[in-house]
Structures are given as C-alpha cells and as structure tokens.
C-alpha cells in the first residue's frame, strides 16, 4: 500500500548527487479524512445511547472473560478521535513528504471498526459476539481466499483466470455428488480439486493452445458451468436428492491447547480441516511462487514469455502446469460450499464469489498473501450481515451491508492506487 508515493530518481549530473524528487499525493490523507467525516456525520445524525456488550468468550472456554460492557457513545467518539488523530498525522507526514506507514492505516481501520460496532450495538440487549464476528469472517473468506490464490497463480503465469467462479461452482457441484455417494468429506474434497483442475484444463486448452482471448474463455466458462450444473441439478440431483445430494460435511476439529486461547482460539483453532488447509495454503503458495524454481519459472513466463522461452523454459507446459494448480486450489474453495457450509448443492450457489475473488486478486496486487487478506476482508463483509441481524441495526440494514464495499472502493481509490498486473498477463504466447 505504498503506490501513492512515487520516488523518482532523476538522471542528473553527478554534481547534484542524490537529488530525488518525491511525488507525494494527498490521496491517502483525503480518503482518511473523508471516512472520518462520514463517521462523525453518522454519529451526529443518528445518535445512539446505551451500552454495547462485547462478548469475548463462550461458555465452556478455558478462560472466562466477562462480557465487556462499554457506554457506546463515549467509545464511539473516542474511536472517532483516534481516527482524526491518525488522519492528522498522515497529513503531517504527507506535508513532510514521508510515506504513510501501513500500521497507521491498520490502526485507523481498527478504530473505525470498533467505533462502528459500538455504535451499531448500542442499547441492544444482546451480546455482540466478537468470536462470532471474526470466526464467521474466517469461515466466509474460504472461497474468496482459495479463489484469489487460484487467480494469483494463474495470472502470475500470464493466464488471466476469470473462470474462478466456474472453478468454484464446478467444484462445489462435484464435491456434493462425490461426498454424497461415498459418505466421505475427504473424497468430496478430492473430487472438488479434480473438478477445479478440469475447468482449468478447458481454460488452458482454449487460452494457451488455441490462443483465444483469455477474458472471453473465462467469462464463457463461467456461464457454461452455471448452465451445466443447473441443468444437471434439476435433471439428476433433484430426483435423486437422497443419494446424490446430501453430503457428509467436515466437522470442526479443535486443536488441543491452542483452541483454548481466548478469542483467537475459537476463531482460528476450532475450525474444519478445509480452513486449516487454507492457513497452510497461503504461505505455501507465497513460498512456491517466490522461493522455488517452479515459481521463478512461472513468474518468468508471466512477465516475459519470450525471454523465458529463450533460456529454455517451456512456456506452454509451464502455463498449463500453473493453470492446473490454480484450478485445483480454487477447487478447494468450491468444496467449502458443499462440504463445510451446507450439506447440499443449490443452483448457482456460489453467486458471484468468483468475481469477488477476482477483485481480491487485484486488490492484493497479484501477491498471494495480500490477496488472501483482501479475501478475508470480503469474508468479513459477507459475515457482517449475520452479526448485525443478531444485534439489530440502528440505520437501515442495507446501508450497513453496503459499508464494506464502499470501504473497499475508497481503499482501492485512495490507498492502493494503480495496480500493475504481471506484464504478460492475458497474452497468448505464440512461439516463433
């Protein structure tokens, strides 16, 4: 998140050594100010009195933390003051032409979130479960994170993966059938991986072998898989629902000691297998891309296929390889729908998650770890609805639900800035 500061080295005579021109934009500061003002307007326009009850631990936890009851109004205003201070600090830094450190943005976001939740939950007799808020966010982020990882792998190899949606949906469908027949969630997961890779194979066939525009193939595959699964769903799964569409799901596996840690324990260490796999997959993909020969070749093919070809890397094979791995990873995300979330497949049940994953890829600037965090943010957004419907929301719930997407817009516009895809992303490679 530093693209708003461009340091330009000018080629000047050596007598004027180290003369640098730092172009500092006021984008970050102005976006933070805009958010702060909106926040203050919200507090003033819809004042809310009463206490907010933050529930940090559940009954049966090893440590019991009493429900934290805070007066909502003061807390919300304190958070607002923190936001204002951060904004002012960023403005001072910008005036001094220094880059905005990431921790300031994180602090700002935390303050805004705490204040917002305090204000939203004020006066509600129900407890605002922090565990539910965060645990749900982790759970909901699964398809986004896996999908984004699949997208990152594909694009770093130079193949735009718009077919994430198709991979998720196809995987969810296949996992449902296989898991229902075999009564095994693991078998369903394996089938999901296979289905994701199969969709990728089609993508590769058209995009890599036949040089079809990758955006066309991706969009069309999405439609194709929606049509195929919906058709088979109503013709095959609905008549045979008992045998073919009642899956065995993964159950939560608490990790012995770690799951007893307050708040973090139930959020991170009492989850189904698929989520633990996700915790491993994100650093694994980062490592594979940045620290292995496989990853180096993959990135070379995505940045400059001609150069890679010249030094003897088989571009077509490397790209197929990457796309298949990408599909398999996205397939894991698809398995979430039918082996973790629900125990049956429903028509078009991914509902555009693949496109959100695509947004996470770009938001994360084609980096697996950043993309995963972007996926987590969208997971949080999807989960917010459930939490707020428990607490009851003071402004129309639709506006509350809109907030995460507006925040993303502001973040993309103000903090991320121009994103630069891998150089050869979207370009077919024709040898010769």
């Amino acid at each position: 998140m530093s693209a708003d500061h461009k340091t330009t080295q000018l080629d000047v005579p050596l007598s004027e050594t180290a003369r640098t021109v730092t172009v500092v934009t006021w984008k970050a500061a102005s976006v933070l100010l805009a958010v702060t003002v909106l926040y203050a307007l919200l507090l003033v326009a819809v004042p809310h009195s009463g206490d907010t009850r933050f529930l940090l631990s559940h009954r049966g936890d090893f440590f019991q933390i009493p429900v934290i009851v805070v007066p909502a109004g003061p807390l919300a205003w304190v958070c607002g003051a923190v936001m204002l201070a951060v904004t002012a600090f960023v403005a001072v830094l910008t005036a001094r032409r220094t880059r905005t450190p990431l921790w300031l943005v994180v602090l700002f976001a935390l303050a805004a979130l705490t204040g917002f939740l305090a204000w939203a939950g004020a006066g509600s007799p129900r407890d605002l479960s922090v565990v539910g808020l965060l645990g749900g966010a982790v759970l909901w982020s699964v398809p986004f994170v896996y999908g984004a990882l699949g997208g990152v792998i594909g694009e770093r190899a130079g193949v735009v993966n718009i077919a994430i949606e198709a991979q998720l949906l196809g995987a969810a469908f296949t996992a449902a059938i296989v898991s229902s027949i075999t009564n095994s969630a693991v078998a369903g997961l394996a089938a999901a991986v296979f289905a994701g890779a199969l969709v990728s194979l089609v993508l590769g066939l058209f995009a890599i072998t036949y040089h079809v525009n990758q955006v066309i193939v991706g969009v069309v595959l999405n439609v194709l898989v929606v049509g195929l699964t919906s058709f088979l769903y109503s013709q095959v799964l609905v008549p045979g629902a008992e045998n073919l569409n009642s899956t065995t799901r993964f159950s939560s596996i608490p990790i012995p000691v770690l799951s007893d840690i307050p708040v973090l324990g139930p959020v991170l260490f009492n989850q189904p297998l698929l989520i633990y796999l996700m915790f491993i997959a994100v650093p694994a993909v980062w490592y594979a891309l940045n620290r292995t020969r496989w990853g180096l070749r993959l990135r070379a093919v995505g940045e400059h296929p001609k150069a890679a070809d010249t030094v003897g890397i088989n571009v077509v094979r490397t790209r197929y390889n990457a796309v298949l791995v990408a599909g398999a990873v996205a397939g894991l995300g698809g398995a979430f729908y039918t082996t973790v979330y629900l125990s049956q497949f429903g028509e078009n049940m991914t509902g555009g998650a693949g496109y959100i994953a695509l947004a996470a890829v770009i938001f994360g600037k084609w980096d697996p770890v950043r993309a995963a965090f972007a996926g987590l943010l969208f997971g949080f957004a999807s989960n917010l609805q459930n939490v707020l419907s428990v607490v009851g929301s003071p402004v129309p719930s639709q506006f509350m639900l809109m907030v995460p997407y507006v925040v993303t817009l502001l973040a993309v516009a103000g903090l991320v800035g121009r994103s630069r895809p891998p150089a050869a992303s979207g370009e077919p490679y024709i040898k010769g």
């Binding site: 079809v212 990758q214 058709f231 496109y355």
Partner: protein, 450 residues
C-alpha cells in the same frame, strides 16, 4: 485490455499503421475482416464487392456453422442422457435398439423443435399472429441484451472491462422507475421521455463514477465496477423496502407499483405482441454506437486508448478523459437496457432482481459480437432467441432452460477458437501462409487484462 475479439480477428493490430487517422479506420476494419476470412493476397487489388462476396463465402462462416453444430450436438447429448424415455428404452437396448433410437429422436427433436417454436415461428399456429409471435418475443428478449451488450462492447473497445452491468441496470431501473411513479400529471410522450432520460443518466453516472475513479486514482475498473454492483444492489434493496420511496404504497413487499401508462414504451406491433418501441431504441443505439466508434473523433480516441494507452497519450489523446467519457456512454447504454426493462419489459412493478442477470449476459453478448455494434446486434438477437425458446422448451418438453446457457456458451467458445473447429471438421487452414505475419502482429498487442 484490447478489444476482445476472436484471435484471428484481432491479430492485425492498428499498431502496424503508424499515424492513422479516422479515414483509415474503415480500411483497417477490412484488413481485420480479411485476416479472419480466407487468404486474400494483399497485393491482389480486387474490387470491394468481390472481396465482400468472398468474405461471405469464406471459411469463417463454415467455422461458425461448425461451432453451432458442435454446440447443438453437445446439448443433444445432455438431453439424451437425462431423458426418462431414453433411459427406459436403453435398458433393453440390445433387445430392441430401435426403441432407443426412437426415444432419442423424440427427446432431442422435441426439445429443439420447441426451441425453434418458441423463438422463430410457431408452425402449429392456426393464425398468422400466433405464428409469428415467437419472433417478436425473441426481439423483446433481445432488446435489453442489445443495449447492455453495446455498453459492455464500447467499454471493451476503450480497453475497459465493464463487469458493472448489474449495478448500472439497477440504478437505471430505479431512477426510471422513480420518475415513472413519482412524477404524475405529465402527459404520455413527455413522461416517457423523462423516465428514459432519468434511467440513461443514472446508468451513465454510475458507470462514469467507475471511469472517474479509474482515471483519477488508477483504481482497477474490475474491482470498482464489482463493488458498485453491490452498492447499487443494497441501495435498491433499501429504496424498495422503504415506504414513500420506491415501495408500492400500502404494501410491505419490496416491490414497486406498476409503471403508469403515460411512462410506458408503446407497443410496436399492436397490443397482441409484447414487443415495444424499446427495440427501435436499441436499434438506434446500435447505429449510434457504430457512428461513435467509427466516424467520430471521440470514438477514435476510445479505440486508440483501448488498443494502446501509452501510444494514445503520446499522440496527444487525453486518456483519462477518454476513460471517463467511454464509461459514461457505456453506462448510458446499459442504463437504456435498465430503463427499457422498467418501461417496457416488466411494467407490473419490479423488485431488486429487475436486472435479470442481463448485466452479465451482456458480457457474453459483447464477446460473441466481437465488440462491434452490428455483431452485438446479431449476438443479442441470437441470445434473445435462446431465451425465448428456452422458456417454451422448458414448458413444453420439461427440459430445463439452463441447457440454453450451455449451448450459448459453447457457441461463443467454439467460434473463438477456429483452429479447434477446423481440426474437428478437418477444414483447411486459410491462415497458414500468413502465420509469420500474424505472430509479428500479436507480439505487439498489450493487454492490461485483469
């Protein structure tokens, strides 16, 4: 990203001709079409008519026919495998194979004849009006697809991937609806005009916002348009759930009142058909977009920015301005689709699913149409036919209309990959001799695709 056309079509980029002006655009199109078609030796100076004739008879048409054929075969296989009659007959296939074949014929023939009956002409009809009614239904379904497809195609030509059709349609529908229900006492043509303008303007502003963010801050248009889809969706959900805004008075459902007659698009062929003047508006939009892209300097700027933004900037084109204005126009076109839904398609009151997935279908329409206005028109009508026919097929034969999605997407996929079709049907490859030239051109293409 450059205009997504089929690979052979886009392989001759305008980068080859430096310093081209709008006058050469037509020749460029022809060069492009020639590349897609059979080999016409560049030295050969035939008349345009002869060229056009050869183009029509060329193998790109056989490829298209082959693509449709393959897609239909794939659809047939799906029907055959899931049809109960076929399943029953195939259980004694070795005793009486004839039964299986008859069942197959009935299942597949029935489905496709229902598709034809629902989308082109109803041959079982007794009177003329019933007979040609399916054709008008096709055009009714095609109306929003053409308008929205144009919006996506125009953005494509300017190098922008507009996935925000859903949001743009929703705000356009809400805005047109608000003028239609909220303003009363205005006579017929004026009221309709106001509602139309409101819808188009809302769509334009919604997409223009995405363009502005892209131009000013560099935010990627794919993220911005997707996020704006969600914002629009919740905004509409709020408006529909709040009494006094869009919600029908005296109702607690999230649904609007019906569109008043003074704001409805009049029917084009009389009251017995659903087709409205919206279709004519869509046709006008096709001509307008063609003119804009191929005959105006603004359109030239759009295409230049789409093909190569850096070269365009060097040539003195304000790329930011081109981005914003192309998104404004694109959003206006998608807005026309949204407004035509409210003022012509669904006049009994709408809810938050008024976009009916058209925003996403429009992407496929634009891609099949090669991001070219006339292509979008043809693709829109084809997809409209599939929509109209799919409904009949589902009702008459019990074949889920989802199969239409499969056939549609396979057609687009196969048309985009001529070498695959040629390999399957063993057609000769007309581009072989030009292969060397092609690779040179492709290398220059730069796609900033998501």
């Amino acid at each position: 990203m450059s205009a997504p056309e089929s690979n052979t079509g886009s392989s001759s980029g305008p980068e080859q001709e430096p310093g081209l002006d709008p006058g050469t655009a037509e020749e460029l199109e022809q060069e492009r079409a020639r590349e897609a078609g059979p080999v016409v030796d560049p030295v050969d100076t035939e008349s345009r008519l002869a060229k056009a004739l050869q183009q029509t008879m060329s193998s790109s048409w056989t490829v298209s026919v082959g693509a449709v054929l393959l897609a239909v075969v794939a659809g047939s296989i799906m029907i055959a495998f899931t049809n109960d009659g076929v399943k029953a007959a195939s259980s004694y296939f070795f005793a009486r194979p004839g039964d299986t074949l008859v069942a197959l014929g009935q299942a597949i023939g029935g489905a496709y004849s229902a598709l034809f009956r629902g989308s082109v002409v109803n041959l079982q009809a007794t009177d003329f009006v019933t007979a040609i009614r399916p054709l008008t239904e096709t055009l009714t379904y095609a109306t929003p697809l053409i308008a929205a497809g144009l919006g996506v195609a125009l953005a494509f030509r300017a190098g922008l991937f507009n996935i925000g059709g859903q949001g743009q349609m929703l705000v356009a529908a809400a805005s047109a609806g608000w003028v239609a229900f909220g303003v009363s006492g205005v006579p017929f043509p004026l009221h309709l005009l106001m509602a139309l303008v409101a819808g188009i303007a809302a769509g334009a502003l919604w997409a223009g916002l995405a363009g502005l963010l892209k131009a000013r801050t560099g935010a990627h248009e794919v993220i911005v348009t997707i996020m704006l889809n969600y914002v629009a969706f919740y905004l509409i959900a709020y408006l529909l759930a709040t009494p006094g805004l869009l919600q029908a008075p005296g109702s607690s459902n999230p649904k609007t009142p019906p569109t008043p007659e003074s704001a409805q698009l009049p029917s084009l062929l009389g009251d017995r058909f659903n087709l409205t003047w919206g279709f004519v508006l869509a046709l006008l939009a096709v001509v307008g977009v063609w003119w804009l892209l191929n005959r105006s300097s603004a359109g030239f700027a759009f295409r230049a920015v789409g093909e190569n933004p850096r070269a365009a900037r060097v040539a003195g084109i304000d790329t930011g301005r081109a981005t914003v204005s192309s998104m404004l126009v694109a959003g206006g076109l998608v807005g026309l689709a949204g407004a035509s839904q409210v003022l012509g398609g669904v006049t009994t009151g709408f809810s938050s699913d008024i976009d009916a997935g058209i925003g996403f279908d429009a992407i496929t329409v634009a891609l099949l149409g090669g991001s070219n206005p006339w292509g979008v028109l043809a693709a829109g009508i084809l997809f409209g036919a599939f929509k109209a026919g799919g409904t009949t097929m589902q009702a008459a034969e019990g074949v889920p209309s989802d199969i239409v999605l499969v056939v549609q997407s396979l057609i687009v996929l196969f048309i985009a990959a001529p070498p695959l079709i040629r390999a399957i049907f063993r057609l000769p490859d007309p581009n072989r001799r030009r292969a060397a030239k092609k690779t040179k051109a492709t290398r220059n293409r730069k796609e900033a695709a998501a």
